[in-house]
Symmetry: C2
Subunit: 257 residues, 2 copies
């Protein structure tokens, strides 16, 4: 059952650039990548690459320029606060070769925000209104300081709750492609036992991506077999064949999520 | 107190390439990056970039070839099992333009392992002995199937317990540079309040990297200030100045790790 290429089924791809020394030092465990991967897939966008880069402008510029040419969307997280190490906006301006200045709309909304809260809108906080020329703002319902979009690049905060809220503001304007369906069988057999059959199945169902992930739990060796495809029928056919094979081998074969 | 460049203090850098569709799909949360970042720093190697790439040979080749030219060490995780989607060894051979074949030493140790355990050493399992020409093996004390090293690239398993055990086999042969020291102050002040002082401190202590990370806990807004440097005295001087400033501002200023 070979998969057929239908024009309306063009895969839509995205990359993430996680900007932050705190991830590379191991001090902070990144949580944005996995969250975005799942959420993007729900709207038909496949996360296809992720990079973690340090707080160095040249590194951010290089990563963003490679990835925005290669994928439909690029999402960055981190580095848009008020301190000296928040260099994402300047780096994105440099990547696009455009200027950067205090954005009137961003200035207005931050002025209102700090007036209301009775907090001084000092120069450091005004840094958060610096937006590359030609970019549009991304609303921040949590802490007000906006993200922004320039062409296919979306710039978001690094704090997960804020990033997630920003993403929900962006989500309605993203143009997704076909959704990736996924089914998983947990098999109580080691990978080496099922590998040959898996290889044959993969050849027979080229439209299904068949992943094999060993697990070790309380001394038991098993394998999670993950089938992914934009073709639901082909996915189900491959799944059923794999499940029947496993049961025929006397294995536990439990569908999990 | 400007930092001085001493020849013996050359920073040693590394990159990680996480190979795996399961990370990009969001199904699995990567844990190897943060663990390696911390462990590498303990031996004087700074993680400077990380990439997550899919199970596609061309993508693995491109990432490895860019990063091995740019950094002192490259570590890959994932894709060295017995199944069809385990394509790391072939991809690394392609990256180096060398052949790949069943490695006699790897064949010998896997033969012994499967004989002892009474498990069939089938063709799929023999795939785990395929090693690029010129590579040396990395011992796997957990599940035997080895990783390997070719030039400055170390290829390890993706399962965290196995990756960690492999890394401990590798660690003694890595040549670290100066260790990065780190101190953290948790300040009960928002970033926007401390930003100006931080910027000034950063200019005065160019040998210290000063990172600012906001936190939001039970409605309280605060900032973790992380100071990192290979120069312990300069780090301590910057820390003391920052702490005194925060206390002068009436802020809580608690050193954390």
């Amino acid at each position: 059952m070979p998969s057929t290429d239908k024009p309306h089924e063009k895969i839509v791809t995205a990359a993430i650039v996680v900007i932050g020394d705190e991830i590379l030092s191991g001090r902070t465990q990144d949580k944005n990548m996995a969250w975005l991967a799942v959420r993007l897939n729900e709207i038909g966008v496949q996360l296809s690459e992720a990079r973690v880069v340090p707080d160095i402008e040249a590194e951010i510029v290089a990563a963003v320029n490679v990835l925005r040419a290669k994928f439909d969307y690029v999402f960055t997280t981190g580095g848009i606060g008020p301190t000296h190490d928040d260099i994402t906006a300047d780096s994105i301006a440099a990547a696009f070769g455009v200027g950067i200045d205090h954005h009137p709309e961003a200035m207005a909304l931050l002025t209102r925000h700090y007036e209301t809260s009775g907090i001084e809108f000092n120069d450091a906080r005004k840094r958060m209104a610096r937006i590359p020329d030609g970019a549009s703002l991304v609303n921040n319902p949590v802490s007000k300081a906006p993200g922004f979009r320039i062409e296919n690049v979306y710039v978001m905060a690094g704090v997960p709750t804020i990033m997630q809220a920003m993403f929900e503001e962006i989500a309605p304007e993203l143009h997704g492609g076909p959704k990736m369906f996924s089914r998983t069988i947990g098999a109580g057999l080691p990978e080496g036992r099922v590998a040959e059959k898996l290889g044959a199945l993969q050849k027979f169902y080229p439209g299904v991506s068949l992943g094999s992930y060993p697990y070790f739990r309380q001394g038991e060796v098993g394998t999670n077999l993950v089938l992914r495809s934009i073709h639901k029928e082909e996915l189900d056919a491959a799944f059923n064949e794999l499940e029947a094979y496993l049961i025929g081998e006397g294995a536990t074969a439990v569908e999990t999520t």
